[in-house]
């Protein structure tokens, strides 16, 4: 997995609450047994009125935000379906960081597994940040994951992320490889469990 240390990028405010993974990647756009090719379908039903006809009112279709890599959003971003396609679509679309007051639990984990930073920031600070981005000519923000800071112009906020998730992103660790370091404990557990909870084992 790619490491995430810091990032400087265009920031787009998409300040809606409860953005669900069906909105991020509609079922109908998940067309192949693959993690790839989903970028063009990110937010498909919001970006397009119909096949290839753009909705000019949608923030990510507007000139300064078209190449955004940092997304600001309302609470519970990524709620709903567990589809990891939502993260793969955002990643391919160019999004590196999502900043919201809270995230859908499964979506949050999927971000960590794919090197995307889901940073938590309080509602008031987020509002301030979104306003500052919207009102300023320069839409770039800087993210420092080591220090857990996002800055835009003279504004600077400390965001939150669980320490182990921060480490995983910084080091770009592969989760299965990490777990296999515990292979011995896993085998010991299973062998013990086979006798104490024999009823739960089918083999």
């Amino acid at each position: 997995m790619d490491k995430f240390t810091d990032h400087f990028g265009l920031t787009a405010p998409l300040m809606r609450i409860n953005i669900d993974t069906d909105a991020i990647i509609p079922s109908k756009r998940m067309r192949s047994v693959s993690k790839h090719g989903l970028g063009p379908s990110a937010f498909y039903n919001w970006r397009f009125h119909e096949e290839n006809v753009e909705n000019p009112e949608f923030v990510l279709n507007q000139a300064p935000y078209r190449d955004a890599s940092i997304l600001l959003s309302g609470k519970n971003f990524g709620c709903g379906s567990s589809r990891e396609h939502a993260v793969w679509a955002l990643k391919e679309f160019g999004i590196k960081t999502i900043i919201a007051p809270s995230f859908g639990t499964i979506f949050y984990k999927n971000c960590i597994r794919n090197g995307i930073l889901p940073a938590t920031l309080g509602e008031k600070e987020l509002e301030q940040l979104a306003e500052s981005v919207a009102n300023s000519g320069d839409k770039h923000s800087m993210i420092d994951l080591e220090k857990k800071i996002i800055s835009h112009g003279s504004l600077e906020f400390s965001f939150e992320i669980v320490e182990t998730d921060q480490k995983t992103l910084l080091a770009g660790l592969d989760p299965i490889t990490q777990t296999l370091l515990h292979a011995k404990s896993i085998d010991e557990f299973i062998s013990q469990d086979r006798s104490s909870r024999k009823w739960a084992h089918l083999d």
Partner: protein, 471 residues
């Protein structure tokens, strides 16, 4: 002892505490399906890894598969068959337990796993599907995961997770006739918001919960994810044990006795402490329906569509305004006058035998309104067969419903099945998100009995009193 039910199940599966507060947990069962299971297995092949214990890995075909009678691998989604064929090949190559399209055990993953005795009380079961929390109805701890975590679970028989906090939700008292588990969960989400359970594992308790049948308990836990909870569990009791007994993958003989002995210990201690508690008077719950595009947009059947201007929180107000526009509704409209184009009974929420029996009660001797297209998709091939044995198919068909093969179908348009653009649907499913059931579709979530009654009337309406609370 101050453990909650959830603490006990967690502790039973703890392989080790990891640095930074994460736990490495043993996973008893992993269930895959053709949409994301295929990707997880393919990725494992690409990495040159194997499945640690194929005996504990199950796979069904439900998400994309066509549900019209006489179906094949082909689906309305042009590439749908690629998911099905790739899943079939990988499942057979890996030697996991696979329920193919024509297998009598095929069906929606969370309908199949209780039915086959794959999910058991006190077990942890995961699946790349967010509604895995359904299985809490049996006292199993289930949660939805992404494809990468599914890959992790099948490769190592474990998952890493941070332990969520404990929340108890007590439904005290007794529900009114015609009020179902679906109404209980919609009421909860309506009152405490779609993000109300974030960071928590829920335990549902109280008289109104223990009164529920196992199938209704599955419905109650199914939508814990719509409350943003990590998962939900209900303590197993005699009903649970009775339900599990004799199922194909359930333990038998001496192991059955050991299992029962263990399951009887699976309850929160009297002095267990919860990080949060909610108490709801179940007798006050009305049949519920959603008016908007979030599962928190809930009203009672006798209520009116709310006015966003009376909402003080500006973000919530904006979301309500967007929802009203999308749903083409106005504040003040009466819930029980909303005209519908279509009715759908199905999904992992409400497609089990007792749901179909209760819906059939509403339909017996009646016809759906002329302008309404109505479809019933049983949750599993086994549910379908059992329903047909009782003649329920005939009641549905005589009433004007289509009677389909098992699958997820119109819950989310994955295989391309839909009622058509901008249709207004009363639906027994779990999500009313924009476009969830097809382009511009307006979904009103409700119980299966309300769907059936509304289909007949041609507008949203309360189920006819039958004393039935299984729908």
């Amino acid at each position: 002892m101050t453990s909650t039910l959830f603490d006990k199940i967690w502790q039973d599966h703890l392989v080790s505490e990891l640095e930074g507060g994460e736990s490495l947990l043993y996973i008893d069962r992993i269930f895959l399906h053709e949409r994301t299971g295929s990707i997880a297995m393919q990725s494992l092949v690409d990495q040159g890894r194997g499945i640690k214990n194929p005996e504990h890995v199950f796979c069904t075909i439900d998400h994309i598969v066509d549900t019209t009678p006489g179906r094949t691998d082909m689906t309305l989604l042009p590439s749908g068959h690629e998911f099905i064929r790739s899943t079939r090949k990988l499942a057979l190559d890996f030697g996991i337990q696979f329920f193919d399209i024509n297998d009598p055990r095929q069906g929606i993953v969370h309908v199949v796993s209780p039915e086959q005795g794959i999910a058991l009380p006190g077990c942890i079961i995961v699946c790349p599907d967010s509604h895995t929390c359904t299985l809490g109805g049996l006292g199993a701890l289930g949660w939805g995961i992404g494809s990468t975590d599914a890959e992790h679970a099948i490769a190592t028989s474990t998952l890493k997770s941070r332990k969520p906090k404990n929340m108890r939700i007590t439904f005290s008292g007794v529900t009114a006739p015609g009020v179902t588990a679906k109404d209980m969960i919609l009421h909860l989400i309506g009152e405490y918001q779609a993000s109300g359970g974030q960071g928590y594992a829920l335990e549902f308790a109280g008289e109104a919960v223990t009164n529920l049948s196992i199938e209704s308990r599955l419905t109650l836990c199914n939508m814990a994810v719509e409350f943003s909870a990590f998962s939900a569990v209900i303590a197993p009791d005699e009903k649970t044990i009775e339900y599990v007994k004799g199922r194909p993958y359930a333990p038998a003989g001496k192991q059955w006795e050991q299992a029962v002995e263990h399951w009887q210990t699976l309850k929160s201690e009297l002095d267990a402490s919860f990080d949060a508690e909610i108490v709801i008077d179940a007798s006050k719950i009305e049949p519920c329906v959603t008016w908007g595009t979030s599962p928190e947009h809930v009203i009672g059947i006798n209520d009116t569509v709310p006015d966003p201007l009376r909402e003080d929180n500006l973000e919530k107000r904006a979301a309500m305004q967007r929802a009203l526009e999308y749903m083409d509704l106005k504040p003040g409209e009466q819930a029980n006058k909303i005209h519908i184009d279509a009715a759908f009974i199905g999904s992992c929420t409400n497609s089990r035998l007792s749901n179909l029996q209760a819906a059939a009660e509403q339909l017996k001797g009646k016809r759906v309104a002329e302008h309404v297209k109505a479809i019933c998709v049983p949750g599993s091939t086994q549910v379908k067969a059992a329903a047909e044995k009782e003649g329920l198919d005939k009641i549905f068909i005589d009433a004007g419903f289509e009677w389909r093969e098992a699958g997820c179908s119109m819950c989310f348009y994955a295989g391309g099945e839909t009622f058509g653009e901008k249709q207004r649907i009363i639906t027994s499913t779990n999500r009313n998100f924009e476009g969830r059931q097809g382009p511009g579709n307006r979904s009103h979530l409700a119980s299966a009995v309300m769907v059936a009654a509304s289909a007949v009337e041609g507008h949203i309406t309360a189920p006819k009193q039958s004393g039935e609370n299984n729908g």
